[in-house]
């Protein structure tokens, strides 16, 4: 009983500390914000979209202006330029490049022409998101190879601890999802699906960590989900059987629906594209909205502070932090669910492309 009370006291103390720290941080960064000539009031919309989007350099906590510099690689009008992001993130122009403040290219690297106009170069920069991608990829490699090493060294002994959990997840995704759905084709497609699952999961979870190795809103970025969905689309399309294409181009429906006007064909072809599109939007929207809700909840503190004063802000912070914690935990769940949903749907789309002729109808 005493231990329980002590434990709960420790938890309360930690929560209180977190709240105080957050409030201090909030006050500090707001003060810094003001001191740096941001005379305008807090702009929640801008702040939210800034955090959801990409950035050159990686923010560090407690200092609004310091960033971990990342390489900028651009192909402008006069060829390739590489330099570190800290040369331009302060608003400077370096080798003719700067971060635009114009409406059109806001926050992106642009090349300033001689007449003052801004041209967007081919931008291969290692931005925060790209660096996040690499970190996630390396983490996945490390994770998966640690499991492999376990098997290589321990000869079929069940893995313990974190590796055991990893194996549980692999088994759930492969043994309980991919293999039952794809059957004999499973070994061929499993590497793609498993890689996609673990990459998405790692990116999702990394996105929830607020400081350096995490914090990049990767799967909440449409470019990332676009590539993933595109790969599923390509695999589905290129492994389509004769029966799959027949069902698209000459489905078994009454003649009137397909012959003079190819209505069914139109719908089926549309379906080919809507499936990956849904994959792309689902993952993107889920992760992005999770981040957005957390951001809004945190920003509520500052909004209320600026509207009603510090007292109300402190009151709000208690609720905000509680809800933020809840949302983050929910997002951990969502991270797993969305990675799994992406994988299972990709598996199903692939299995639909691998369809064999129905024997009863073939006769």
């Amino acid at each position: 009983m005493l231990i329980l009370i002590m434990k709960s006291k420790i938890i309360i103390a930690i929560v209180a500390l977190v709240i105080v720290a957050l409030m201090g941080w909030g006050y500090y960064s707001t003060a810094q914000h003001r001191a740096h000539g941001h005379t305008s009031e807090l702009n929640p919309k801008e702040t939210i979209f800034e955090h959801l989007g990409d950035a050159y350099g990686w923010e560090v906590p407690f200092n609004h202006n310091a960033r971990i510099p990342l390489p900028i690689i651009v192909w402008g009008q006069d060829g390739l330029h590489c330099f570190m992001s800290n040369r331009i993130t302060g608003g400077e122009t370096y080798e003719g490049f700067k971060i635009s403040t114009s409406e059109k290219y806001h926050g992106k690297v642009v090349q300033v022409m001689e007449d003052g106009s801004e041209v967007r170069p081919w931008d291969f920069s290692i931005t925060k998101n790209v660096a996040g991608l690499f970190i996630a990829a390396l983490l996945v490699i490390w994770m998966v190879f640690s499991l492999k090493r376990w098997y290589a060294r321990n000869n079929l002994k069940a893995p313990r601890g974190a590796k055991g959990f990893l194996e549980l997840v692999v088994d759930f995704v492969y043994g309980d999802t991919i293999r039952p759905i794809l059957g004999k084709h499973a070994p061929k497609y499993a590497p793609y699906l498993l890689t996609a699952f673990f990459f998405i999961l790692t990116m999702n979870l990394l996105g929830l960590i607020v400081i350096f190795p995490g914090g990049a809103n990767l799967t909440g970025n449409i470019a990332v989900t676009l590539v993933l969905a595109l790969l599923t689309f390509l695999i589905t399309t290129f492994s389509g059987t004769r029966e799959y294409w027949k069902e698209i181009l000459w489905p078994e429906v009454p003649m009137a629906l397909k012959c003079p006007v190819p209505m069914m064909q139109l719908i089926e072809v549309l379906g080919m594209f809507t499936k990956p599109l849904a994959l792309m939007v689902r993952l993107f929207a889920n992760m992005m909205s999770g981040h957005m809700v957390v951001l809004v909840l945190v920003l509520l503190i500052f909004i209320f502070t600026s509207l009603f004063g510090v007292g109300v802000g402190i009151g709000t912070s208690i609720f905000s932090v509680a809800f933020t914690l809840f949302m983050l935990l929910l997002d951990v769940l969502v991270s797993f669910i969305q990675a799994y949903v992406f994988t299972i749907l990709s598996t199903i789309f692939i299995s639909m492309a691998l369809v064999e002729p129905h024997h009863s109808e073939a006769k």
Binding site: D123, L147, Y151, G175, L194, V227
Partner: protein, 165 residues
């Protein structure tokens, strides 16, 4: 809507990163992991099947053993009963034989006793006769001339005595 416009650079790097990740994992990790996991699953399945079979066998063996034990108990009881019967018979036989033997011994003893008695009687009779004769002779030597007539008389008396006995 900046949020919904995929950035070219990120698409490029994502494509590259994913493909590298895919090729590394698909070549060096996933097949091995899947193979190992399936091997282990197979091994566990086999182990379970083996265990179940072994358990069934064990139960069979147990039943068999129980049956054997029960049978052995029955046999033991039979043997004991048989043995008891045999023992009783043996004792009975021995008793009978002993009784016979005893009877025989007794009879023989009686016979020899009888013989001895007759012998003794005979001897006694002769000795008594002689003794009587000697006595009689001493008593009546002088007035009895005919010895033979006297002896017949004594014989006669003795016979009378014998019949009285």
């Amino acid at each position: 809507m900046e949020l919904f416009t995929p950035e070219f650079g990120l698409v490029f790097w994502m494509f590259l990163a994913f493909l590298c990740l895919y090729f590394i994992l698909a070549k060096f990790a996933w097949p091995y992991i899947i193979k190992s996991m399936e091997e282990r699953a197979d091994k566990i399945d086999k182990g379970v099947a083996y265990y179940q079979e072994a358990e069934a066998r064990l139960q069979n063996a147990q039943a068999e053993a129980d049956k054997l034990i029960a049978q052995a108990h029955n046999e033991q009881a039979d043997i004991l009963r048989e043995a008891a019967k045999m023992r009783n018979e043996l004792i009975e036989n021995a008793r009978g034989e002993a009784a016979d033997e005893a009877k025989k011994v007794t009879e023989a003893a009686q016979v020899s006793l009888e013989q001895a008695r007759k012998e003794a009687e005979k001897q006694l009779r002769t000795e008594v006769g002689d003794l009587a004769l000697q006595i009689a002779e001493k008593v009546i030597r002088r007035n009895i001339a005919n010895d033979d007539a006297q002896r017949a008389l004594v014989e006669q008396y003795l016979s009378e005595v014998e019949t009285k006995n």
